[in-house]
């Protein structure tokens, strides 16, 4: 259980929610900038020509399902089920790694097709937005692996399940940001050259 606080709420959890609230501003800036520049592809590939929607749909589904495994990991630790907690934490990290692998493949394909970071304002805004999101997912994977290591060292128990909950909040946030990116950047009809 968390320590006594004047609000009756866990300060660590409150801090994570404040942090997530501030992250909305970061991703809001990146998404708005992308929207402003998505028509400015000049002689480079246009978003409508280069995006592979079926492929990105699979990646999005993988990340969405990692939110399920994350919440199952939390439920397991909260009932003292260490074995299932480890299993779901590892599954979440693996699903995150699959998503990142997909992003690396997507970026590599785009670069091969002539869409580099400095090709056009569109490409810069696109790579910055999705790259920032990818960094967030990667940091989430590092945190999940740290939890797993703590668990195997016997330091992660039902008593400190709040640590899993806080990292879970971060992971779910990364997922909800992708829900927005997937719709606004990929599914809303894009300009073609």
């Amino acid at each position: 259980m968390s320590e006594e606080t004047t609000t009756g709420l866990s300060h660590n959890k409150l801090a994570m929610w404040v942090f997530l609230g501030s992250e909305c501003l970061l991703f809001g800036a990146l998404i708005s900038t992308y929207l402003l520049y998505r028509n400015k592809f000049y002689d480079g590939p246009a978003p409508g020509d280069i995006f592979d929607i079926p492929f990105t749909s699979v990646s999005s589904f993988v990340l969405l399902m990692s939110s399920l495994t994350m919440v199952l990991a939390l439920a397991a630790i909260q009932r003292g089920d260490i074995r299932n907690n480890r299993l779901w934490l590892l599954t979440t990290a693996l699903l995150g790694a699959v998503f990142i692998g997909g992003q690396v493949y997507e970026f590599t394909t785009f670069i091969r097709e002539g869409l580099g970071y400095t090709t056009s304002p569109f490409s810069s805004a696109f790579f910055t937005l999705t790259g920032f999101h990818g960094v967030h997912v990667s940091l989430g994977i590092v945190m999940l692996m740290s939890l797993l290591i703590s668990s195997y060292r016997g330091k992660l128990t039902q008593k400190n399940s709040e640590t899993v909950e806080i990292i879970g909040l971060y992971w779910h946030f990364v997922d909800v940001v992708w829900i927005i990116i997937f719709t606004v950047i990929y599914l809303v009809p894009n300009p073609t050259s």
């Binding site: 004047t6 609230g21 399920l68 997922d175 829900i179 719709t183």
Partner: protein, 108 residues
């Protein structure tokens, strides 16, 4: 300071809540998967002017489901919701103005 006065409101909200069962979480994930499938279907099926509003509604519903159920905002203190929603409202307001200043809505 008498903390009992300051904490009453929050503590009432912060009573220990039972979180959903694993089966319930799987049902929610299934709903999310169905909505995602519907979103992707809009790429292949032409629905005309209804496309963008439909996509936006599905996006907001998915966002709300993950925040409410997986992030436990439905069950946790309202204080957490207030902080998160404040960030979202501030971001939407600031960037709506930003896009308006740059004539995004008129130039597309």
């Amino acid at each position: 300071m008498d903390t009992s006065e300051t904490t009453t409101d929050v503590e009432e909200e912060h009573e220990h809540h039972e979180h959903p069962s694993d089966g319930k979480y799987m049902q929610i994930a299934l709903i999310l998967a169905i909505i995602t499938a519907a979103e992707v279907a809009t790429y292949f099926v032409h629905i005309g002017d209804a496309l963008i509003p439909t996509l936006m509604v599905m996006m907001v519903v998915k966002f709300w489901i993950v925040a409410a159920w997986f992030m436990h905002l439905r069950f946790d203190s309202k204080m957490f919701t207030r902080f998160f929603v404040s960030g979202i409202v501030l971001a939407i307001s600031v960037y709506f103005i930003f896009l308006t200043v740059f004539e995004f809505w008129t130039e597309g």
